[in-house]
Subunit: 206 residues, 2 copies
Amino acid sequence: MARQRVRLSVEERRRQLLELGLEVFGRSPYDAVSIDAIAAAAGVSQGLLFHYFAGKRDYYLEVLRFAAEQLLRETTRAREGTLAERLFLGLRAYFRFVEEHAPAYATLLRAGDDAAVAGVLDGTRGRFLETIRSELVKFQPRQRSAAARLRASLRGWIGLVEALSLDWIDHRDLDRDALVELATRAMAGLVPGAAEALSGTPLAPA
Amino acid sequence: MARQRVRLSVEERRRQLLELGLEVFGRSPYDAVSIDAIAAAAGVSQGLLFHYFAGKRDYYLEVLRFAAEQLLRETTRAREGTLAERLFLGLRAYFRFVEEHAPAYATLLRAGDDAAVAGVLDGTRGRFLETIRSELVKFQPRQRSAAARLRASLRGWIGLVEALSLDWIDHRDLDRDALVELATRAMAGLVPGAAEALSGTPLAPA
């Protein structure tokens, strides 16, 4: 591959390196990843790679941010259809992403005391929370504490989706649609006002 | 306090030191905890403290194990009553424990890439999972994948309870019974067969 040196614009090159990083960090733990091998696979020199990213750790964090953007985009792609349909497609995309990047996902969720990594994680969770909250806010009852309950419910629910993902990575004995169904049921339980809107989901009832 | 040197049996002394550690690590981050101060508060020499524990980190891990045992005992104390009542009391005890040990709880859940700490965490989650599974197994449908679904549901649900706890530590704008109610609703959603048994909960419906 090292010979196929192709002229790319700065943006294209950066994107190529991030995509490659997502693939490599998604397959191998951080310590096993060699920057030399990444540069070779991209057909660039290590020097050029460090022109784009200050070092291996900086590159890793940029790859995480790139992955988070991709995940957010893929899970919020569905703009039409009912709430149930959009949640279904969003969850499917989420669990597909977990499946495709299982080692990186598991490592990431267990790296909670690295402040920079925790920052990317919490930022991503916050954006998920806002996206879902904007959908569900109309279902919340008119009580003083309703906003706090919805926020807590969604933060809890994101924790559930992450734990379901880690369980799936460990066991792989359920199919993706079963995970989607469990997450949807939990949400219907947490936000009773939305239960009816969520029951139109394309999944068969239990 | 250092003068009140009291003769305790080995077991009593160990327990005293663990209780003190739980209090101190529950209040302050690990790096801020001084072993000198703990020995002084216990009225023992640092040498005696290191007779019981090999070092600060070993002491901390023993305190974590002690805390996990205490949490498991308190949340599973209710042996009588309906499933709904026992879940209610168990969740109340869980969130009370979170409230009493908030800084330690938050630090602990964010220390996921420390293998020894992760071991205590995962062991505790596993024991919660087994306890709850033994209660819920009779509600699972007779399908081939039912056991995997129940395990995944409970692992997801434990993730939800942890995320709810962290959200509560950050915001503290819901009371404990609101958290108990959200966790109960989510479980009823996840395990539809148990929903009726859980609806007898002492909490008012939404």
